[in-house]
C-alpha cells in the first residue's frame, strides 16, 4: 500500500514537472514606501498571467543595503536568485567579484549590439549599468537629488517662488531669509536634508559634483576624491549652512524628520530624491515647487535608483526566463507605469513618447523639472567595498554637521579610511605591475 502511494506520488511529481513553468525568483527592495511592494506584486501577477511558461515569485528583500546583503548570502550559499533589482552603484562590486552575468550574450541573441541596447536608456544611466564596454545591469528605476521648496514659505520670506535659487550664493541667501528664529528656538529652517547613512553620501557627492568635482573615479573602482578642493568646498558649504548661517539644523536628520518638517511648514526647502515626488505630492497640503540642485560651478547631480541584474550560477533555463522578465519590466509601457506610480524616472527614453506619459508630464510640472535635470546627471559613485567607502565619508560629513570636526580634518580622515578599505583591490589591480 505504502509502495503504491509512493509510486503514485512520484508519478504525479514527474507528470507535474513535465509541464511546469520555469520557476524563477526576483529579489526586490522597496527603498521608499510600502505601497510600492503591492504594486510590484501586482506587476508580477500580470507578467505570470501573460507568460505561462514562466512563474515568477517576487521576494521582498528590504532596503537596498539589505537586498545587497541577501543577494550576496544567497550566491555564497549556492542558491542565487534568478534576478535582482539592485542599487545601481553596487553593480560594479558584483563585476569585480565575478558574481554577475554579462548581458552582451543575451542582448546579441536578441539581435542587438550592446551599444544599441544601452542607447534605449538615458545617457546618465548607462555609466552604472556598464563596465568597460560590457552590459551588466538594465536600469529599472532611477532618481536624482532635487530641491523641493514651499511656495508659502518663499512668499513669507519675501522670495519669488517663480525664481528658485540657481547658484549656491542664491541658495545661501534664500536659506538665511527663510530661517526664522524665535530666541533659542527655530520656528522654520531655511533648508533641511537627510544626513543619515546612504542619503548623506549621495547628497554630498551631488554637491561635490556641482562644485566641479568628480567625487570618484567613474572608470576605476579603487579611487575616491574626498580631499580634493571640490569635495572640501562642498562640505565647507554644508558647515556654513549649519553653523554660520544657522539655516540648517545641527546634527543628523533622517528622511522622515525632513519630510515631516516640510509638510508642517517647518522648513522652507529640502533636498530629497526625485523618487519621493509622488510621496510629497500626496502628502504636502500647501503648494510646493521643485528645482534643480543649485550649482557653484556646474549643474550636476548623481543618479540613484536601481538596475536589474542576473547573478551568476543559475541554469540556462532560469537565466533565459529571468531575461524575459527583465525585458518586460523595462519595456516602455511597464517602465512608464512604474514611473508614474512611484515618481522615479522611467529609464527607457521611449517611455516618454507614450501618450499617457506625455499627459502625465503635462499635468505634473514637478516631474518635468526632475526629467530635465537628467540632462546634467552623472554616474553614482561605485567602488570596491562601496558601502564602507561611502560610510567613511558619511561619518566625516556627520561630524561636520554636528560641529565635531572641521571639513578638512573630517575629509582627511575619511580619505584614509576609504583608501584602507579599497587597498586589497588596488593592490591587485592598479598597483599590480609587471616585474
Amino acid at each position: 500500500m505504502r509502495l503504491f502511494l509512493v509510486a503514485a506520488l512520484a508519478a504525479c511529481l514527474t507528470a507535474g514537472s513535465a509541464h511546469a513553468a520555469t520557476e524563477i525568483d526576483l529579489f526586490f527592495p522597496v527603498p521608499v514606501q510600502g505601497k510600492l511592494a503591492n504594486e510590484m506584486q501586482r506587476l508580477v501577477e500580470v507578467f505570470n498571467k501573460d507568460h505561462t511558461a514562466i512563474h515568477v515569485t517576487p521576494v521582498y528583500s528590504g532596503s537596498y543595503d539589505d537586498t545587497n546583503l541577501k543577494t550576496h548570502a544567497a550566491i555564497q550559499a549556492g542558491k542565487p536568485p534568478a534576478a535582482v533589482i539592485m542599487s545601481a552603484n553596487f553593480v560594479r562590486e558584483y563585476v569585480i567579484n565575478d558574481e554577475i552575468v554579462q548581458l552582451d550574450r543575451l542582448i546579441e541573441k536578441d539581435g542587438l549590439t550592446e551599444a544599441a541596447f544601452m542607447d534605449q536608456f538615458w545617457p546618465a544611466l548607462r555609466l552604472n549599468a556598464t563596465e568597460q564596454g560590457h552590459a551588466y545591469g538594465v536600469p529599472f528605476h532611477n532618481s536624482t537629488p532635487l530641491l523641493y521648496y514651499s511656495v508659502d514659505a518663499f512668499k513669507d520670506a519675501g522670495l519669488d517662488p517663480e525664481h528658485p535659487p540657481v547658484t549656491w550664493q542664491d541658495w545661501l541667501t534664500a536659506a538665511k531669509k527663510l530661517a526664522k528664529h524665535d530666541g533659542a528656538t527655530t520656528t522654520r529652517w531655511g533648508l533641511m536634508m537627510p544626513g543619515t547613512y546612504d542619503y548623506c553620501g549621495w547628497i554630498t557627492s551631488g554637491l561635490a559634483m556641482s562644485n566641479g568635482g568628480q567625487f570618484y573615479n567613474p572608470g576605476y573602482g579603487g579611487e575616491v576624491y574626498y580631499t580634493q578642493p571640490s569635495t572640501i568646498g562642498a562640505v565647507r558649504f554644508l558647515d556654513t549652512l549649519v553653523h554660520k548661517a544657522k539655516a540648517m539644523p545641527e546634527g543628523v536628520t533622517d528622511a522622515n524628520a525632513v519630510t515631516t518638517a516640510f509638510f508642517q511648514g517647518r522648513t522652507g526647502m529640502m533636498i530629497l530624491s526625485t523618487g519621493s515626488l509622488s510621496f510629497v505630492r500626496d502628502n504636502m497640503k500647501t503648494p510646493y515647487r521643485v528645482a534643480f540642485l543649485p550649482r557653484n560651478l556646474d549643474n550636476a547631480v548623481p543618479i540613484g535608483g536601481a538596475s536589474l541584474i542576473l547573478p551568476k550560477g543559475n541554469s540556462p533555463e532560469r537565466e533565459a526566463a529571468a531575461w524575459t522578465l527583465i525585458k518586460w519590466l523595462t519595456s516602455p509601457e511597464i517602465s512608464g507605469g512604474w514611473s508614474r506610480f512611484t515618481g522615479y524616472f522611467a529609464p527607457r527614453i521611449a517611455a516618454y513618447e507614450l501618450p499617457e506619459m506625455k499627459a502625465f508630464i503635462a499635468a505634473h510640472p514637478d516631474a518635468k523639472v526632475a526629467l530635465d535635470q537628467l540632462a546634467y546627471a552623472r554616474g553614482w559613485f561605485s567602488t570596491y567595498n562601496v558601502v564602507g567607502v561611502r560610510k567613511a565619508l558619511e561619518d566625516g560629513v556627520q561630524a561636520v554637521l554636528s560641529g565635531k570636526a572641521t571639513p578638512e580634518a573630517a575629509m582627511a580622515k575619511a580619505q584614509l579610511e576609504a583608501d584602507a578599505l579599497m587597498r586589497p583591490y588596488v593592490e591587485q589591480t592598479a598597483l599590480k605591475l609587471p616585474e
Binding site: Y197, G251, D254, V387, Q398, Q428
Partner: protein, 309 residues
C-alpha cells in the same frame, strides 16, 4: 558529560537485564544523549569552530587564503573597533545600573499585592512584551525632532527642539533610555520574586529591635536579595552585549559611529564590508571577554551572597 550520562542512564537499567545486555548498557547513556549532542555539535560547537577558523583565515582580494593572525592585528588597529568597545562599555554601565536600581525601587514600591499595585506592576512590566524592533520603531516617532511626542511635551515647559538621535552627544543616551525603559520591568519581576522569598519574621525581628526602613533594607533585604541580584546582573550584562536591534532600526551606528557597539561592528564587518575575517576575530574577542566576565562576576558575587539554607 560522562557523569551526566551515567546519571541519566542509571534509573533506566533494570538489574535483571543488566547482565545480559552489559555490552549495550555501556552504550545506552550515550545513545540517549546522542540526539541532543548532535544538535549541540551541529548548531553550537561547529559554528564556534568555524568562527575561530574564520578569524585565523586571512583572505586577500583574489589571493589564496592562508592562516595567520592578520585579522586580529587589523581588528585591534581599527579605530572603529575601539569606538565600538568604548560605546559598549558606556552603554552597559548606562543601562545596567539605572535599570537595576529602578527595577529594585519599583519592586520595593509594588511588593504589597493590592488591585492598584497589580495594575501598576503590569504597566511597568509591559514594555518587556514589546519586541525591541517594534519598540525602536515607536521611539523613532517619539524622538522625532520638534514633531515627536517627546519634543511636543518638552516644548510646553520651554525646552527647545532637540535632535535626540541625530546629535552625536545625545544619540547614545537616547538608545540607553530606550533600553532602560524596555528592560527595567523585566528585572522588576525577578526582584519581586526575590523579595517574596525573604522571610517576614526576619524583618519583623529587625523591626522589634528598632531598625528603621533604611536599615532594614540595607542590612536584611539587600543581602538576602544577593542571589537574585547576581542573576539579574548577568542577564543584564548579556542583554547589553547581545541586543542591538534598536541601533539597527534607529541610527545604524551613527551619527559618526557614536552608537556603534561591538555586536553592530561585527554585523557591519560581516554584512556591509564582507570582511568575514575581521568579523570573526571581533566575535572571538567579544565572546571571550563575555565568558571571562560572567565567570568573574558569578564567582565574586557568589562569595558575597547569603544563600538561605
Amino acid at each position: 558529560m560522562v557523569a551526566l550520562a551515567r546519571l541519566v542512564a542509571r534509573p533506566l537499567i533494570v538489574p535483571a537485564i543488566r547482565k545480559r545486555r552489559s555490552a549495550l548498557a555501556g552504550l545506552t547513556p550515550y545513545l540517549l544523549l546522542a540526539p541532543s549532542a548532535l544538535f549541540l555539535l551541529a548548531f553550537t560547537y561547529w559554528p564556534v569552530v568555524q568562527v575561530v577558523g574564520g578569524s585565523l583565515t586571512v583572505r586577500g582580494f583574489r589571493g589564496a587564503p592562508h592562516w595567520g593572525l592578520d585579522n586580529y592585528r587589523r581588528l585591534f588597529g581599527d579605530t572603529h573597533f575601539t569606538t565600538a568597545v568604548v560605546n559598549t562599555l558606556i552603554y552597559a554601565a548606562g543601562t545596567i545600573i539605572p535599570s537595576l536600581v529602578l527595577a529594585l525601587l519599583f519592586a520595593l514600591a509594588l511588593i504589597e499585592t493590592t488591585r492598584l499595585t497589580g495594575a501598576l506592576r503590569t504597566l511597568v512590566a509591559l514594555p518587556m512584551l514589546i519586541p525591541l524592533v517594534a519598540a525602536a520603531s515607536l521611539f523613532a516617532f517619539i524622538f522625532l525632532p520638534n514633531a515627536g511626542l517627546l519634543d511636543h511635551y518638552l516644548a510646553k515647559i520651554g525646552v527647545a527642539e532637540t535632535n535626540w538621535l541625530g546629535n552625536p552627544s545625545l544619540a547614545l543616551g537616547s538608545i540607553i533610555a530606550i533600553t532602560v525603559w524596555k528592560n527595567c520591568g523585566y528585572y522588576m519581576l525577578f526582584f519581586l520574586a526575590g523579595l517574596a522569598g525573604i522571610p517576614g519574621d526576619l524583618l519583623d525581628a529587625a523591626r522589634i529591635d528598632g531598625a528603621g526602613p533604611v536599615q532594614r533594607f540595607f542590612w536584611i533585604t539587600l543581602p538576602l536579595l544577593g542571589p537574585t541580584l547576581a542573576f539579574v546582573l548577568v542577564i543584564a550584562t548579556l542583554n547589553a552585549m547581545t541586543q542591538i536591534d534598536h541601533v539597527i532600526v534607529l541610527t545604524q551606528g551613527g551619527p559618526s559611529d557614536t552608537t556603534s557597539m561591538i555586536l553592530f561592528y561585527i554585523y557591519q564587518q560581516a554584512q556591509q564590508n564582507f570582511d568575514i575575517g575581521r568579523a570573526s576575530a571581533a566575535t572571538v574577542v567579544s565572546v571571550g571577554v563575555l565568558f571571562a566576565l560572567s565567570l568573574v562576576s558569578l564567582r565574586s558575587l557568589e562569595r558575597g551572597i547569603h544563600y538561605e539554607t
